[in-house]
């Protein structure tokens, strides 16, 4: 009986395959589409969103200045984080116990205390040291100024964001350097290359491949972390929006303006990160 199908005249190659159907996927898709549509319709039609107000403030000069401040904070805090982070990573990997312990302690402290707390702390640094002076031990004072005149909100913001960022970046960079096999440095040494050249030409370029993607994520999360600075009255994007709605009571539309700008910045950065990652993943 099983041999019946093998009888002459049957074209086996013509038998087509029918994939298993998944009807529930269609049901789920329909439900999700309906919910999405409902949300969109409600957002578009609820007058409380005040879309005309959003449109009015999107390119408001005051908002644009706040946006510039947000970008400036992101850039400088990230630069501090990268430079100091590289230094900390090299200390952490140093065979010298003191250097690596100091680096470990720094990373432990600045990763453990919330960035928001650090910001408020720096803002109130004057209460701890009312006067900052540079003087030789038992010698004359070279420089002296009141803390409040030195630690402006901008300084406190950069210190708070940059120093915390350095702790995170240090770990990323350390991981990147540690990911390069020891044989690479050995081969370079055997060729007569000196430590600095080995780091610059052999180890660092290979570490970059591991470092770039997480640093891209850090930049994106830094954009959003800058909004914390609003608590110390620095007029970046969020605080600017708050200043305006404190006056006009148009709270929701201004929060939407701020959100839209964050969305735009992060989207642009994500595209950039995508291309960077692709370039470094090439080999």
């Amino acid at each position: 009986m099983p041999h019946a199908a093998l009888s002459a005249g049957v074209d086996h190659a013509a038998h087509r395959v029918v994939p298993l159907r998944h009807p529930w996927i269609w049901v789920a898709s329909a439900v999700v589409a309906l919910v999405a549509l409902a949300v969109l319709a409600s957002v578009a039609t609820n007058p409380a969103f005040q879309w005309p107000v959003v449109a009015e403030y999107m390119l408001d000069p005051q908002i644009l200045v706040g946006l510039g401040r947000t970008l400036e904070l992101t850039l400088i805090a990230m630069a501090i984080g990268l430079v100091l982070g590289t230094l900390l990573a090299m200390m952490r990997l140093s065979p010298n116990k003191l250097l690596s312990t100091v680096s470990w302690a720094y990373i432990w402290f600045f990763r453990s205390v919330p960035a928001l707390v650090q910001l408020i702390f720096w803002y109130n640094f004057g209460a701890l040291y009312p006067v900052i002076a540079l003087k030789l031990p038992f010698g004359p004072t070279l420089f002296s100024a009141s803390t409040n005149s030195l630690i402006t909100p901008m300084f406190a913001a950069l210190a708070g964001l940059g120093l915390a960022q350095a702790a995170y970046t240090a770990e990323v960079i350390r991981g990147g350097i540690a990911s390069v096999p020891k044989g690479q440095a050995r081969a370079a040494m055997a060729l007569g290359m000196q430590p600095l050249t080995i780091f610059r030409r052999i180890v660092f370029p290979q570490a970059m491949r591991v470092i770039i993607p997480p640093v891209g994520n850090e930049v994106i999360s830094m954009v959003k972390s800058t909004s914390l600075v609003s608590v110390i009255a620095l007029a970046e994007l969020l605080y600017t929006a708050q200043l305006i709605y404190a006056r006009t009571y148009e709270t929701i539309p201004l929060l939407i303006v701020a959100s839209l700008w964050y969305l735009i910045i992060v989207s642009v950065l994500s595209v950039g990160q995508h291309f960077l990652e692709r370039r470094y993943r090439a080999r």
Binding site: G183, R186, A188, M189, L191, M193, R201, Q206
Partner: protein, 257 residues
């Protein structure tokens, strides 16, 4: 400076420990200029560590090593050995090429760039000259057509041949080979050994840690058998392989042959 017959490598009383465990115990060894010294022995016998001491990739605990008549890694004064600064050690390393079991090519550079890197960075050779020399060396190892390939695109045997070319680009007086074929698929071993054979024929002084007894017999001028951090037996390869004098050599050879 190193006419045939003089010693290219001279080792006296070399000892080294890792974390309290002695890996090298009073090694004496001479390698004549222009000769090929093969070192065999069970794993963990200290062969690779010995090789890494010759170009000071590993610090030593006691003893002395000379390469081309120059003390390696240290300066002697009043019976004490002062470690040299990195700059001087790297100058010595330029004259000693090394080939590793795992190839250790730079993965972010093409085959040609791998070869050009050290001459440009260390010897300040001009880009065009380094390139010409690199192409010539790739031809010598039979890989001229693959100069633009990255290491990951090459087979193990090809990678190892590029690694040999990379070491030769520094015009070394001495080449160290650390189990150069141990990480290769069996069918790729031959092409690497052929390049090494060719190099030996050109008069290069070579120290080769290997498991390839046939290579040692055919190409080696001398064979050293090491066990437990000591030189157990040495002599002409044919003699040592055919009629080992020491018990430990006999045991080892009976296990691998």
């Amino acid at each position: 400076m190193t006419s045939p017959g003089t010693e290219m490598v001279k080792i006296r009383g070399l000892s080294k420990s890792y974390a309290g465990r002695e890996v090298l115990r009073g090694i004496d060894l001479d390698v004549a200029a222009g000769s090929v010294m093969c070192i065999i022995g069970p794993s963990g016998s200290g062969k690779s560590t010995l090789l890494s001491c010759i170009n000071h990739l590993e610090r030593i605990d006691a003893g002395q090593i000379w390469v081309a008549g120059e003390l390696v890694g240290y300066r002697e004064k009043n019976g004490l050995m002062y470690e040299l600064p990195e700059r001087q050690i790297s100058r010595m390393r330029q004259r000693v090429g090394m080939v590793f079991q795992q190839f250790n090519l730079f993965p972010h550079m093409t085959a040609l760039a791998n070869i050009m890197e050290a001459p440009i960075q260390v010897k300040r050779v001009r880009q065009a000259d380094a390139r010409a020399r690199g192409v010539e060396l790739l031809e010598r190892v039979g890989l001229a057509a693959k100069h633009a390939m990255f290491p990951a695109q090459l087979s193990g045997g090809e990678q190892q041949r590029v690694a040999i070319a990379r070491a030769l680009a520094m015009d070394p007086q001495l080449m160290l080979f650390d189990e150069p074929t141990s990480a290769l698929d069996p069918e790729l071993v031959g092409e690497v050994l052929a390049v090494m054979k060719d190099l030996a024929r050109s008069g290069m002084t070579m120290v080769v840690v290997t498991h390839e007894l046939a290579f040692a017999r055919e190409v080696g001028d001398e064979l050293t058998f090491m066990d437990a951090g000591m030189v157990v037996e040495r002599g002409a390869p044919r003699q040592v392989l055919a009629a080992p004098q020491q018990r430990r050599t006999q045991d080892f050879l009976s296990r691998v042959l």
